[in-house]
């Protein structure tokens, strides 16, 4: 399945005029491809992701999955991993992994079977009966990833999933999940404000300008996935990172000025 965004505008009506969150965005994501979207804060990257997952209707333009226009969320095509604290705190870890399937209409029995398997996949099999509060932030996000994987989606839509974690946890989790997801062969769209993450995860980085969010540049990142942590010390990585840095910095300074 190819995920295709075409001539997308998203405008929010606000007091005293319109707020243009995304402007004239076109992009497509191939099956199994990792695309990261980066941009200054408030540039509409989360809005773009929500539109790609059918969570909000574009003002203009379309989002298509293999030529069919997406009009609402379909977790079996594209499943969300939200920023943080998205686990239901009143459900145990295993119930949280099941709930996506149950919301999507699976039977309790099927959901349990798949959830057990996915929880194992993210390395948390021993934590199934704990409550989210008993887990660290990094572990909670693993559970959120397992919940998304349980639907066997063609794409994972990840909205700054590591944003609330400290840098070391974030890197360790990024490397680990990057590897697991690469092996699963699913496509990923990852929103991030971390340059490192944007480059490390990506086959292709999409850089958005500050509001209104437009695509400033698309950069290919070479190197097979899964990538070892040492990838971050290679010349290819450093070059792309430097380029992103200057793009983002010039974008934010405009915003400030």
């Amino acid at each position: 399945m190819t995920l295709k965004v075409q001539d997308l505008d998203i405008i929010y009506p606000v007091d005293g005029g319109d707020l243009v969150a995304c402007q004239n965005i076109s992009l497509s994501v191939q099956p199994g491809e990792f695309v990261t979207v980066i941009g200054p804060s408030g540039c509409g990257k989360s809005t773009l992701l929500h539109a790609m997952g059918g969570m909000l209707r574009p003002t203009r333009g379309t989002v298509e999955a293999d030529g069919t226009v997406i009009t609402g969320p379909d977790p079996r095509k594209a499943a969300f991993v939200f920023q943080d604290y998205s686990l239901l705190p009143w459900k145990t870890v295993i119930q949280n992994v099941e709930i996506g399937l149950i919301f999507a209409g699976s039977t309790k029995k099927d959901a349990r079977r798949i959830a057990v398997e996915k929880l194992e996949r993210v390395g948390l099999a021993g934590y199934r009966d704990m409550y989210p509060r008993q887990l660290s932030g990094g572990m909670q996000q693993r559970v959120a990833v397992a919940r998304a994987l349980a639907l066997e989606p063609e794409y994972l839509l990840m909205d700054e999933p590591f944003g609330a974690l400290d840098e070391q946890t974030r890197r360790a989790l990024g490397v680990d999940l990057g590897e697991r997801l690469s092996k699963s062969g699913r496509g990923v769209v990852l929103i991030t404000h971390s340059l490192e993450e944007a480059v490390y995860w990506a086959d292709r980085v999409i850089v958005l300008s500050s509001r209104p969010g437009r695509i400033v540049k698309e950069i290919q990142v070479h190197g097979d996935r899964p990538r070892p942590l040492e990838f971050m010390t290679t010349e290819g990585f450093t070059e792309v990172r430097a380029e992103l840095f200057s793009l983002i910095e010039s974008g934010s300074s405009q915003e400030i000025a």
């Binding site: 969570m55 499943a79 969300f80 604290y85 999507a104 509060r133 887990l135 660290s136």
Partner: protein, 302 residues
């Protein structure tokens, strides 16, 4: 596993400051103290350890007050005719338990309380859910409920007699009014306390309205709803007893009124203490239940 340490999978991001997360979501309107105090995090623990000795202080204070009261009456500092000493109140409790009028009154009050709590809670839950889940209804009606909360409702009591007579009617009706308002406010507060990201998850994974209600709204609001129901019991009780005290010719309230009117102060006090004791017992039992269903809110343990 002992719940006191944090758990990390081997070889994972086990780091001391990647601490358990979770936001304190004490509902602005609902949520009782005891269930909430355990959720404040580390510093509280310092105080919790002293629980055993604090209980002794509490009982010591109670004992001292009762002792002072008893002696004051014995030495004549307090007039035993108006304020009989605790010993006479205690023997009054024993004596009264044999009187059929007292048993009838207790049964009448218990019945009125049960009916008014059942109706008040049902009405409160229904309206609270509707207001909690529907923006329009909420904006239209919640301000009215909040205003109603602020006025002393006893002033309506005479109207209740006119409408419901002198029997069970006014007590039950007044209890329903008092308890349903409390339940409404608490249920709306409980639903408000649910984070929007949880609704987003439900939507992103294609949940039906019913499934969202069952898996997100109901369990998310359950602790607040439960606390609200306790306020419902308490207020139903207040409503029933106040109505009986002032207008009815039945129940514990009426009996207290007639005892004081005929100078049976020790008996009146005995009845009051007995009822207070029962209310405290029920309150504690409710607290235990409440903690049990709010287990997921405890940061550590289990």
């Amino acid at each position: 596993m002992s719940g006191r340490e944090r758990h990390e999978a081997p070889g994972m991001d086990a780091r001391p400051h990647d601490a358990p997360t979770g936001r304190d979501r004490t509902s602005p309107l609902g949520g009782r103290g005891p269930a909430g105090s355990a959720r404040e995090g580390r510093p509280q623990r310092l105080f919790r350890r002293s629980n055993v000795s604090s209980a002794w202080i509490t009982f010591g204070l109670l004992g001292a007050v009762l002792g002072a009261w008893e002696t004051s009456v014995a030495v004549g500092a307090l007039d035993g005719r108006f304020l009989p000493p605790p010993s006479r109140v205690a023997s009054g409790i024993i004596a009264l338990s044999g009187e059929s009028a007292v048993r009838t009154a207790l049964a009448q009050t218990a019945y009125a309380l049960a009916v008014s709590f059942a109706i008040g809670t049902a009405v409160g839950l229904l309206i609270g859910m509707l207001l909690g889940m529907n923006r329009l209804l909420r904006d239209a009606f919640l301000p009215l409920v909040i205003q109603l909360l602020g006025i002393p409702k006893s002033v309506f009591l005479p109207l209740f007699i006119l409408a419901f007579g002198l029997g069970h009617g006014p007590g039950i009706a007044f209890g329903v009014l008092l308890s349903s308002i409390q339940v409404i406010i608490n249920v709306v507060g409980a639903i408000d306390s649910i984070d929007t990201v949880h609704y987003q998850v439900a939507r992103a994974y294609g949940a039906s309205r019913f499934s969202t209600f069952r898996n997100v709204i109901l369990p998310g609001a359950a602790p607040g709803i439960f606390a609200g129901m306790w306020h419902g019991i308490r207020n139903a009780f207040v409503g029933v007893v106040v109505a009986q005290l002032f207008v009815s010719s039945i129940g514990v309230g009426y009996l207290v009124r007639s005892y004081t009117a005929t100078f049976r102060i020790a008996d009146a006090l005995a009845l009051i203490f007995f009822v207070a004791f029962v209310v405290i017992l029920v309150g504690n039992a409710w607290g235990v239940l409440e903690r049990r269903i709010s287990r997921w809110r405890e940061p550590l343990g289990g």
